[in-house]
Amino acid sequence: MKMQAAPTTVEIRLVVNGAERRMSVEPNVTLLDALRDRLHLTGTKKGCDQGACGACTVLVNGRRVNACLTLAVMHDGDEIATIEGLGSVDNLHPLQAAFLKHDGYQCGYCTPGQIMSAAGLLREKRDLTRESVREQMSGNICRCGAYPNIVDAILDVAGANDKA
């Protein structure tokens, strides 16, 4: 099968926060740029655009990934969960409430990625101690240095989950 010229766009269907979103994208559009610039879901952030900071963390089919290092066209039919779908100001997810309580942020730019990564972590059913949470959240850089508060917030929710 030979390719003549680069076809300009591919039709894809992403299920974003439960809602079907169809779009025509060029193959070189990352999932991150598709979310931010095509769907205008700007909650997911661009920090380094090369997988080194985790600011772009979303859940794809329930697993945390860096949206900057994958292409939108590769996710036809996939379920994408972003911060916008986790909770709202009037209906906060427990992680969001915990971040508020523990001041798990300062400038807020890495925060959606931190929270989505934490949401992914809680689904991974790992043994969560202070040390293991620090390690498991090391893919999310916070230049403001909210790390200890982020760990407190996650352990708060994980502990509540254990009791539930």
């Binding site: 099968m1 030979k2 390719m3 010229a5 680069a6 076809p7 300009t8 591919v10 060029e26 193959p27 070189n28 990352t30 655009d49 090369q50 997988g51 985790g54 963390t57 697993r63 945390r64 990934v65 860096n66 900057c68 290092l69 994958t70 292409l71 066209v73 590769m74 990564s117 992914g120 972590l121 991974e124 620090r134 390690e135 498991q136 959240m137 090391s138 893919g139 999310n140």
Partner: protein, 327 residues
């Protein structure tokens, strides 16, 4: 990124066919290497062949071996109970790699094929024999703290960055390859090549071949093994130096030994001489020291990475010591 065409492979045959018909095509699986290097301009394919949905991700457990499909995700292998039990060094190497998000995305096959982190390879402006044969090596005489001390040549000193591959070469893994011709299996340590005069060639994979899986045989050494990774910060970082080692002891003497080195070599490194210095010897400090020296015999520093030689020796000693420490 330069625009490219995109095709989804439904199966291995599709993928191989697309590669065969398009000399400037490449595969993408997890994307963590490919998308990165597309953005840097180091990769400029005309066609990306998406193999991410090919059903090749099974982890199959047998009495004498475990097999991983090339598309198994790193975290799935790292978290697999039988992998951790039979090959602790492999599970530890995976868990110490990258970040949780990257481990969810990246595949076993892709990890083996990842490219060097050498800053000059990744920057189109600086001469690099690996990127453009014959253009020069900017790391020799430049900044080379991250570079190799083993397996180097005057043309290239770039280190191979994979943790997993270090553990796999240590324990005699084979990589399964499919292509236009017959399927073949290659001992992983033979799959990789040193740079020599052709640093642009890193392994024996032909353009129209794909890795379909890895076979890891059980062994006494693999079952009693560990992976040590030293780095500048506590997590989410490539190795300064890493060691995968396994030992089995009978009647106070070392019966089997395996050692792989990372961060220090141009390909995932099997330290055969070190193993030779261990077999039949008592498992003590003196033996481990001799093995460590043998492991780095012939190592050459390039200025900023000289420290890796003593550091790697000490790392070898430490891992071996930990394997015989009373629990």
């Amino acid at each position: 990124m330069k625009p490219f065409a995109y095709a989804r492979a439904r199966n291995i045959e599709d993928a191989v066919g697309l590669l065969r018909d398009n000399p400037h095509a490449m595969c993408i699986a997890g994307g963590t290497t490919v998308v990165d290097l597309l953005k840097e301009g180091v990769f400029q394919p005309d066609l990306l062949v998406d193999v991410s949905r090919v059903a090749q991700d099974a982890i199959a457990v047998f009495d004498d071996r475990i097999e991983f499909g090339a598309l198994a995700r790193m975290n799935d292998v790292a978290d697999h109970a039988q992998v951790a039990a039979a090959f602790p060094a492999v599970a530890q190497a995976l868990a110490a790699s990258a970040s949780p998000q990257l481990r969810n995305m990246a595949t076993i096959g892709g990890n083996l094929l990842q490219r060097t982190r050498c800053v000059y390879f990744r920057d189109l402006l600086t001469p690099c024999n690996k990127r453009v044969r014959g253009s020069g090596c900017s790391a020799i005489g430049g900044w080379n703290r991250q570079h190799a001390v083993l397996g180097t040549s005057d043309h290239c000193i770039a280190a191979h960055p994979s943790d997993l591959a270090v553990a796999l070469v240590a324990f005699d893994a084979h990589v399964q390859i499919a292509g236009a011709g017959a399927a073949r299996a290659v001992l992983l340590t033979d799959f990789y090549s040193e740079p020599g005069e052709t640093p642009d060639v890193e392994n024996t994979l032909a353009h129209d071949e794909v890795i379909t899986g890895v076979v890891l045989p059980r062994s006494a050494a693999a079952g009693h093994s560990a992976y040590l990774k030293l780095r500048d910060r506590a997590s989410f970082e490539f190795a300064l130096v890493s060691v995968a080692a396994g030992l089995s002891i009978a009647d106070g003497l070392i019966a089997h030994a395996r050692i792989g080195l990372g961060g220090v070599a141009t390909k995932p490194w099997r330290a055969y001489d070190a193993e030779g210095a261990l077999i039949g010897q008592p498992a003590n400090e003196r033996t481990f020291k001799a093995a460590a020296e043998a492991a780095l015999a012939g190592a050459r520093g390039y200025g900023h990475n000289d420290f890796k030689i003593p550091l790697a020796q000490r790392a070898v000693e430490r891992v071996l010591t930990s394997l015989v420490a009373p629990t």
